[in-house]
């Protein structure tokens, strides 16, 4: 609370830059199933601030220019996974893509994610995606019914931390070249969610899931193109997770840290 430390604190906050709006052109791939045979591009000019997100731009269009523009969104800060779309040729969440991070001297291209059936404008049918998710048995399989919580060491919890972050936005799966050509491929998102359980020391069903993924449309289909890892808005190392699942299949089971609680407890104490 010393005055020094604190005044430093205030000074350090970047002064809010003079707020300046500029016109950005968005080119959106529209498709109205009740009218159009094929999707087509449509341009919109929007007044935006550097700190706006693409989602704000879409809202401005919908609210001020064309109410029929359809897209999904909910949380607006990257945790619900509603608004994965292809923005300037890359899959991202509209609510996490800031205008200032795009080159606005060029128009911004926005279109639906690829590989899932297009329903309307930026909305695709997510059912096939969730079907793959359901197919890998995404739930804890454990036979015992413990009195209290199951014990899990910090290290055991850490091995699958990354893959618990998934918000099922489908940015990864719909960025995967294999998925574009083969909709039957489970896709990275399903594998990520399988990984989350395969590497959970409390789970007893890893063998089942490894068997499911050791399939024609399973992990072996992945050609390590890394589009998924680059697209994941949660920063999950998707390809790494897939790779770990491949290794687990080859080894016949996941490589889990031993529950070494006592020594850890000692270390922590």
């Amino acid at each position: 609370m010393s005055e020094v430390a604190s005044s430093e604190g205030t000074a350090a906050v970047a002064p809010v830059a003079p707020i300046q709006a500029f016109t950005v052109t968005l080119i959106i791939r529209r498709f109205d199933p009740e009218v159009d045979a094929e999707p087509h591009w449509q341009d919109f000019d929007v007044e935006l601030y550097a700190t706006d997100r693409v989602l704000d731009a879409l809202h401005k269009i919908k609210w001020e220019q064309d109410g029929s523009l359809s897209f999904r969104r909910s949380c607006a800060h990257g945790i619900c996974g509603s608004d994965a779309m292809r923005i300037n040729g890359r899959n991202r969440l509209a609510c996490k893509t800031l205008i200032k991070d795009l080159d606005i001297s060029q128009p911004i291209y926005v279109e639906a994610i690829k590989g899932l059936p297009l329903e309307k404008d930026l909305i695709v049918d997510m059912e096939p995606f969730f079907e793959s998710y359901r197919a890998i048995q995404p739930f804890l399989i454990a036979s015992d019914k413990p009195e209290k919580e199951r014990i899990q060491s910090v290290a055991q919890r850490a091995v699958f931390d990354d893959t618990t972050k998934c918000i099922l936005c489908a940015a990864c799966t719909s960025s995967c070249p294999v998925f574009w050509t083969d909709g039957q491929y489970f896709g990275p998102a399903a594998i990520v969610n399988a990984h989350r359980f395969i590497f959970d020391s409390r789970d007893e069903g890893s063998q089942v899931r490894l068997d499911i993924l050791n399939d024609k449309e399973g992990v072996w289909r992945c050609r390590t193109t890394f589009n998924c890892s680059e697209a994941c808005p949660r920063g999950i190392e998707v390809t790494k997770a897939i790779s770990e699942v491949k290794q687990a299949i080859l080894r016949g089971g996941p490589d889990l840290p031993a529950s070494d609680l006592t020594s850890e407890a000692v270390l922590a104490g």
Binding site: Q42, D66, R90, E111, K114, S175, T224, N227, S229
Partner: protein, 143 residues
Amino acid sequence: MSSQAARSGAAAATKIRSPRRPAGTLYRGREGMWSWVLHRITGVAIFFFLLVHVLDTAVVRISPEAYNSVINEYKTPLLGLGEIALVAAIGLHALNGLRIILIDFWSAGTRHQRLLFWIVIALWVVLLVGFVPRQLMHIFGGQ
């Protein structure tokens, strides 16, 4: 669509010079995706070359004359250049193949995939720098 919506849409559409209208944009993947594209293209190219190459080599079983006439084709400048392309393709495929293997079997591989890709490119350039001048010398160098 309401007429109003159509109107506002049309207004926007006429105002702006519209650039390229692709059916959909090309996915802007990064090193991982392009390396895969190259791997695939080179793989197919090598495969077809290999089919031909086994056939032409099999001609040795027919007669020395036949084989020599076939193999002479390879010595024309055109196919000599083709050979450069072949070596380039095999080199890239092989080096990138090793990169893929590292990604698959080395636990830190996925994290360094981008670096690995640029190493592949560097080694590939070295390989070509070593091979191309010699090959050019062989095919155009007379003698």
